[in-house]
């Protein structure tokens, strides 16, 4: 297993989108740990590879083809035009052609053709059809766990073929025959058992929040509450559990608390639904994704809140924005005047728009900042009323809270954004090699703005991006703490009514006004 320190950056080229030479099989050996019996059982999957796995897998594939139009259409429609071949960050970082989106899809498509199409049944050699052998299953396990389901390929495919859908289906099929991935499945089990991915029990969450309340008190002089399981408040905040635990996530959480405080909105976290991320999507399991989502509904009902707001989390926001209403709706018991669910960035942006937040941008002058559009926010969701709000709203928040903001190259941001390299169930140490190489295009894009504009820091609105960048930034010559939460920037610059910062700022201003 590769460690960060073993990793040698390929600096032969500095173009983030430089197309590598094909390196067939170069990533063949990078595969994640297989889920154990207990991890599988908690999710309703067999504990080990079942005896008749081949028949079961094919019949599962047949079932998914009738349940998901996406899969059926995507299996049939690829013309091998090549448009996607240079679009995956894992291909750009590794050169392994099975990391080209079409290469990855074809691992399943060749099996689809063999068992479900006329040509594949009778002339497999002609159309590249193959039996589902143990080797093929092994390849599936390897390469479908080198896809972060970031959807970049789907932007460029002339038919909108989304490799994420194929990866999800492959993982669902593998789970159903007993070959699951430990990282994802163990985590989903923790959500069922404890309520969040990190397995933090209510007591631990409460004591973290107590510590943060003290810190906020010291920082601002104000009594800013961070409630847990409080009934009858306005907002249920659903945020990734990493926000309670990791840097720079936790600074973002304090930012949310400050914004809620200034808004005069009462809020609470839920220990039962103490996780925004929904790894059910990563494994392509509608059922598991739904179970995790229903916890959020139950928490909202039990706590009798009026609104649901999500914290900074990428794939979580895709599930929340695009799927929550489907999976756990209708939310007719919530206040219909607000979006259900709402993103914390939408919440903060509305206040900025209404002139309800005051900022002292100079508090962020030590940062020269760029912004990483998290893949699933960019290409699988929206913020605000207009298409593309997911790009503009976080940028507006950053511009409101700092003086030095520079975007990376246009073909690496917004809908063309590059994945951090750790999304979709890849953020595990057993895939460190994949993560380091997959981050290369994003890191090179950041190196470009570092050279051009002296950019020092990168802000993001995703727990996985933040954790991933903390690991990979050092390998690309940046400091480990160069990754920031967007609401950390808000937290640094916000001037709360009645706070120490307000007094300081007003005192500093008065002499100038007198001159």
């Amino acid at each position: 297993m590769a460690k960060v320190s073993d990793f040698i950056v390929d600096d032969s080229d500095t173009d983030p989108l430089a197309i590598p030479k094909l390196a067939c099989g170069s990533m063949r050996d990078s595969k994640p740990f297989v889920a154990k019996d207990a991890h599988q059982a908690a999710l309703g999957y067999p504990g080990e590879l079942v005896d008749d796995w081949q028949d079961k897998a094919i019949s599962k594939m047949g079932e998914l083809l009738t349940k998901y139009r996406s899969l059926q259409v995507y299996m049939d429609s690829c013309v091998k035009c090549g448009a996607c071949t240079d679009k995956c960050h894992y291909f750009l970082g590794t050169g392994d052609p099975k990391n080209m989106p079409v290469g990855r899809q074809d691992l399943m498509r060749k099996v689809y053709r063999r068992y479900f199409t006329f040509a594949g049944k009778y002339m497999p050699w002609l159309v590249g059809a193959e039996d589902l052998t143990e080797d093929v299953l092994d390849e599936w396990y390897t390469y479908y766990h080198q896809c972060s389901q970031c959807r970049r390929c789907s932007v460029y495919c002339p038919f909108g073929i989304d490799t994420a859908e194929v990866s999800m289906a492959a993982r669902e099929i593998m789970d159903s025959v007993g070959k699951g991935q430990k990282y994802c499945n163990e985590i989903i089990g923790k959500v069922y058992k404890v309520g969040n991915n990190l397995g933090l029990p209510a007591k631990a969450i409460r004591s973290t929040l107590d510590g943060l309340e003290e810190e906020l008190q010291e920082d601002t002089g104000l009594d800013i509450k961070m409630p847990l399981d409080q009934k009858g408040v306005d907002v249920l905040l659903v945020t990734p559990s990493a926000d309670l635990f990791a840097e720079p996530h936790i600074d973002g959480l304090m930012g949310y608390a400050k914004v809620f405080h200034e808004a005069g909105v009462t809020w609470t976290l839920s220990s039962y639904a103490s996780e925004a991320a929904n790894f059910g999507m990563f494994i392509g399991s509608y059922e598991n994704m739904r179970e995790v989502s229903l916890r959020i509904r139950k928490a909202a009902e039990d706590l009798q809140v009026k609104r649901i707001v999500f914290g900074e989390c990428g794939h979580a926001w895709r599930v929340a924005y695009s799927f929550l209403n489907t999976l756990a709706g209708p939310f007719d018991f919530l206040d219909q005047r607000y979006p259900i669910p709402q993103h914390i960035c939408e919440f903060t942006y509305d206040m900025i728009e209404n002139g309800e937040l005051r900022f002292d941008k100079s508090k962020n002058d030590q940062y020269r900042l760029t912004y990483h559009d998290s893949c699933n926010v960019a290409r699988g969701s929206r913020m605000g009323n207009k298409p593309g709000g997911q790009f503009e709203i976080p940028r507006e928040i950053l511009r409101a809270s700092c003086n030095h903001f520079y975007d990376m190259a246009p073909d690496t941001i917004k809908e063309a954004t590059l994945c951090c390299g750790g999304g979709g169930g890849i953020l595990t140490d057993d895939l460190m090699d994949v993560r380091l190489k997959g981050a290369q295009p994003r890191m090179r894009a950041m190196q470009e703005v570092a050279e051009e504009h002296g950019v020092t820091h990168l802000a993001a609105i995703c727990a996985i991006c933040k954790a991933q960048f903390s690991k990979v930034l050092p390998a690309y010559g940046f400091k480990v703490n160069s990754i920031l939460s967007v609401h950390q920037m808000v937290s640094n610059a916000i001037v709360l009514t009645g706070s120490i910062q307000e007094k300081e700022l007003d005192e500093a201003k008065t002499p100038e006004a007198a001159e």
Partner: protein
């Protein structure tokens, strides 16, 4: 003998094409899309989606974003093919519709454009290692098939003429189930044979991709999941393990 053979061939090819297309439309249409998965930013209204689809169908918008070479060759080929097909309507209409008459001179250029686009695509498939890697024998053969169809058509126009009046009589006859003699010119027979073959494999091969685009959820869905609840029938029947209290 040739006439009978080609009559049977074209009638059955037409049935296979229509039946196969109908079957595939049924397969695509009856598979539900249980989740909202438009690739965003996506239109937030139905009308917006119609415009997105029109841009994809007419301009190949996504392909344009992806790769200008593939776009140029692909677009020129498809546009050429469209005009060539329209030009061929004169073999199936009597009297020939006015606008089909107007299309005739453009059809000639379109034939060359189509061939140029195909040769460009074939060259990329061979020369670019990434695309060579993903190509199965059938991917090369599809291009060979189309090049042979376009080439044989142009040969009949410029080199070895055939009796197009008789060809037209043959097809008009077929449409009213009458048998008129088809000229037994080799180039014509190759041209028509390949076209019939293409009609037969069309619904069961990657040639179907146009239909796939129409049914692609990442392109044809409206981005409004918060406003409108979207649930598939099979998902409605799921029983939750978490019970609301």
């Amino acid at each position: 003998m040739v006439t009978q053979l080609y009559a049977v061939l074209f009638v059955s090819a037409t049935f296979v094409l229509l039946g196969g297309l109908g079957y595939k439309i049924w397969v695509f249409a009856t598979a539900p899309a249980p989740l909202k998965i438009p690739t965003t930013p996506a239109p937030v209204t139905r009308t917006g989606v119609v415009f997105r689809m029109i841009r994809e169908i007419v301009l190949f918008e996504s392909l344009f974003k992806a790769n200008k070479w593939i776009w140029v060759f692909g677009w020129v080929f498809h546009a050429g093919l469209l005009v060539v097909l329209l030009r061929h309507l004169r073999y199936f209409t009597d009297p020939v519709w006015g606008w089909v008459v107007l299309v005739q001179p453009f059809g000639i250029y379109a034939g060359f454009a189509m061939l140029a686009g195909l040769i460009g695509l074939a060259a990329r498939r061979i020369v670019v290692p990434r695309i060579r890697y993903i190509s199965a024998p059938s991917d090369h053969l599809m291009l060979v098939l189309l090049i042979a169809i376009a080439g044989s058509g142009l040969i009949m126009k410029y080199v070895v003429h055939t009796d197009i009046v008789a060809v037209k009589a043959f097809f008009l006859g077929l449409m009213s189930f009458e048998l008129n003699p088809l000229p037994a010119d080799p180039v014509l027979l190759v041209h028509l044979g390949l076209v019939a073959f293409m009609m037969i494999i069309f619904p069961f091969s990657k040639l179907l991709h146009g239909l796939g685009l129409l049914f692609s959820p990442s392109r044809n869905q409206v981005d409004n999941p918060r406003e409108v609840r979207h649930v598939a029938a099979w998902a409605e029947r799921l029983v939750a393990r978490v019970k609301a209290e």
